[in-house]
Each structure stands twice: as C-alpha cells, then as structure tokens.
C-alpha cells in the first residue's frame, strides 16, 4: 500500500478529528431563507471543524512544507525539478491507467499506456517526457475520486483533511483506493517500503513547489481564504471530472457549437 502523509499521521489525525467534532460540532443551519440558501450552496455542514483543520494545515504549511518547497525550488535547477516531476508522474501511470479503464475511456487509457511505455524506456525511467515532446502524447491525470464521479457518486459535504487539505468523502475514499491500487507498494519488499514513503514525501514537496506563487496569489486576492479555497477546490474538481478535451477547444466552426455533439461546450461552473 502506498504510504502517505495521511498514514504517518493517522493516529494523531483520528484523535484530532474526534476531538474537533466533539468540541466544534456541526454548524447549525440558519433560519433566514437567504442564509439557508447560502448554507446549502456552501454544502459545508462541518465548517467549524473544517476551518479548524484548515488553520492547522496552514500552520504546518508555513512552518514546514512551504519552507521545504521553497528551498527545493531554490536549490535545484529547474531542469532537475522537471525531471523529478516527470519521474513521479510516470510512476503514477498505473493508477491513472486503471482509472481511465474503470471510467470506460479506452482512448485515454491507451494514451496513458503509451506514455508509460515510451517514457519508462526512451525517457530513461521517466526522467524525460519523450512521449509529449516528440510525439505530442500529453499527460492527463485521473484518480478514483473522479472515477466514482463518472459512475454517478456525489461528492458529499466539503471536508478538509489533515495535511492533505480540501476534499470531500468521495475524493477522500478515492485517495485511499488509489493508494491501495498503486502497484509500487506491492512490488517493494517490506524492508524497502521507505522508498515509497520517500516518494510520497517528494510528491508533496513537488506539488507544493509548483504552487508557491499560485497559493500566494490566491491569499493576496481573497478576503476569506478558507471560503475561496473551498470554492476553488469544487470548481477545479468538477473541471477535472469533465475530462476536458483540448482538441475540442481548437475546433472553431461556429455551427459546430450548436450542431456537433462531439464538440464539448466549455461550461461555466455556476455551482458555488
């Protein structure tokens, strides 16, 4: 099983969750109809607890994760960082492939398989994204949370997980299933499992280092960082689930937008 921050912190996290639920409890639905409409739109009945965990996560980020990510960003040349990122992405291919397949998306499963075959060999264990650079076969992400969404499972209420951050029951379960599905954990003997733990750690640093400016920018532009992140997370996940096809974006024939069902219309997310 793939290690994650979540596993390392499982015991304290569970204790924290229980304590927070007991202390903070749920938010009480407001009486005023306008307020009630917002309450429903936010879909965040555990808001007091979520806000608490969000604050703890932010503290942890400021103290540890962000400095590590900044240091990583400064110390390593961009090319090396890109190589590390490519290796991590390549290692994720089996999970992406499984989810492509479970979503019944043959063409995308084929893309993932081709990328894995090409980049693992010609790309020297995934360091170089040869598939994208030479053949234009581009990376796409997929996870079990998205797969369940495709199957029709609803997201459930908003949830902030310790360390991992914004989520919901569907995506939290998806994260767990992806971890179990990941074959590298099965392949490694138990005394070498630290390799997988290290991989998860580097994955976290890589993700954070690629979002240093973005998160600062969001903080700078928002009044309520928590509410902003909640909205961003939902919109972003909905966008990922839709499997936006880049090609349809490039098709520009005015009539196609009306008549051709294969041309997907980019939809403006109006949900929260």
């Amino acid at each position: 099983m793939r290690a994650s921050y979540f596993n390392l912190l499982r015991v304290p996290a569970a204790a924290l969750l229980t304590a927070a639920v007991l202390l903070a409890g749920c938010a009480t639905p407001p009486k005023d109809p306008d307020e009630l409409a917002i309450y429903k739109e936010n879909n965040d009945p555990l808001e007091p607890m979520n806000r608490y965990i969000f604050e703890v996560n932010n503290g942890l980020d400021e103290l540890l994760i962000k400095p590590l990510a900044s240091w990583y960003n400064l110390m390593l040349p961009d090319r090396v960082e890109q190589g590390v990122h490519n290796v991590l992405t390549n290692l994720n291919s089996p999970v992406i492939f499984a989810n492509d397949a479970m979503q019944g998306n043959g063409p995308r499963a084929k893309i993932t398989a081709e990328r894995f075959a090409i980049n693992s060999t010609l790309g020297v264990a995934g360091i170089f994204d040869v598939a994208a650079n030479w053949w234009g076969i581009k990376h796409h992400d997929e996870d079990f949370g998205q797969t369940m969404a495709v199957w029709g499972v609803g997201e459930g209420p908003y949830l902030v997980l310790p360390v991992i951050g914004p989520s919901n029951p569907r995506d939290a379960v998806g994260y767990g299933v992806d971890s179990v599905m990941d074959p590298w954990g099965w392949v490694l003997p138990s005394h070498l499992q630290w390799i997988n733990y290290t991989r998860t750690g580097i994955q976290g640093i890589d993700l954070r280092s690629r979002n240093l400016e973005t998160l600062d920018q969001i903080k700078k532009g928002s009044l309520d960082f928590y509410a902003t992140m909640r909205s961003l997370y939902r919109q972003h996940r909905n966008d990922e689930i839709k499997n936006y096809d880049e090609k349809s974006n490039n098709v520009f024939t005015p009539s196609a937008s009306v008549d051709d069902p294969s041309v997907k219309k980019p939809q403006l997310s109006q949900t929260n």
Partner: protein, 199 residues
C-alpha cells in the same frame, strides 16, 4: 396578410441578432480578446514601470474592458438586493481596488508567455466564451476562457482559469465574509477596507 407580416417581422428579428438581444459575434469577441492581450502586454509589462503607474494602467484596462458593474452584482448575489446604493457603489470601488492590488503586480513578473486565442463559442444566454491557451515556461498549458457580453459595447464578465471562474470564486468568498459578519454588507465593506488599506 396580417399573419404573414407577423412572420416576416419575426424572421427579420431572428436574422438580426442585434434586435433580438444584442448578441455579439464570436469573431468580434475573439478580436476583442486579442486586442486586450496586445494592450496588456505592451502597456503593463515594462520592467521600468513604477508600481503606481502599473496599477493605474491596469485599472484603466480593467475599467475599459471588464463589465465591473455586472461582475459586482453577480459577486454580491443575493446581498445586492439588501445593499443600499452607497453600499453598492462602495463595494464596486473597493472590489476594483482589491483586483488591482492583487493582480497588477503579476505583470511585473511577465516572462514572455503569450496566450493564443483558440476558439469562441456562443452560449445559450447570448454571451460568448472565448477560449485561449497559455504556454508556461515549464511546459504546462493553461486554459483561460473569457466570457464576453455586450453591455453597451463588448465587455468581459468572467475569467475562467482551468474551469475555475473568477466571479464564482469571489461570490463564495464575499458571501462567506458577509455571512460571518451577521449578514451585513457593511461587514464586507469593512473587510475590504482593511484588506486594501483604502477607504
């Protein structure tokens, strides 16, 4: 006879979108976004610009190209009704300042990225979505969509980055601030004054 003239009138109305609700053409909308891109890069990205000057120019582009009244109304959503005229005007002004302060500086770090307009689609509500793509130096490609409406001239009513809408996100942000401030728009204005450091 009367019926025929009615049909003729209806046909005429349908063939002139401008009469039926002023729908802009997708080609015009694409040109509009292209020209905004040129204007933004040429006027905002100079390294010798002072911060104040950059903010002034950014504010100018924001006011000339964005439907700020419409966006403000969308962002305040259900609180627009209860807000007084002064509160609405204050919100619009402070919200604009927040955008200027948060985003003008981005152009100082401009590293030569260009966005290319890749298409446009007419939406059911008469607005137009112009699609564009930005190539990042690290090889990532970002989808940036522009929602264009005709409000006495073409104006941008929303920016959608990778499926994340600017105005929808601000609607959540602002809604939460008001909610935590006891449902009072005044509490939002206080928060905005504090954040922007202006009156």
């Amino acid at each position: 006879m009367q019926r025929r003239s009615f049909l003729a009138a209806a046909a005429a109305l349908l063939s002139f979108p401008s009469l039926a609700g002023a729908a802009p053409s997708t080609a015009d909308a694409q040109k509009f976004i292209d020209s905004l891109g040129e204007a933004a890069i040429s006027s905002l990205t100079g390294t010798d610009l002072s911060e104040d000057e950059r903010e002034t120019r950014f504010r100018g582009l924001l006011e000339s190209h964005f439907d700020l009244p419409g966006i403000s109304k969308f962002v305040l959503a259900r609180y627009w009704r209860v807000a007084t005229d002064t509160e609405r005007a204050d919100f619009r002004r402070l919200f604009e300042t927040l955008l200027v302060q948060a985003y003008a500086k981005k152009f100082a770090e401009y590293a030569g990225e260009r966005f290319k307009v890749s298409g446009a689609l007419a939406n059911d509500d008469g607005s137009i979505t112009v699609n564009s793509l930005i190539d990042r130096p690290n090889g990532d490609q970002i989808r940036l969509d522009w929602r264009i409406e005709d409000v006495s001239g073409l104006k941008i009513s929303d920016l959608i980055v990778e499926g994340v809408s600017l105005r929808t996100t601000y609607r959540s942000d602002v809604g939460s601030v008001i909610q935590n401030g006891g449902g009072k728009v005044a509490s939002l204005l206080d928060a905005l004054r504090q954040k922007t450091g202006t009156q």
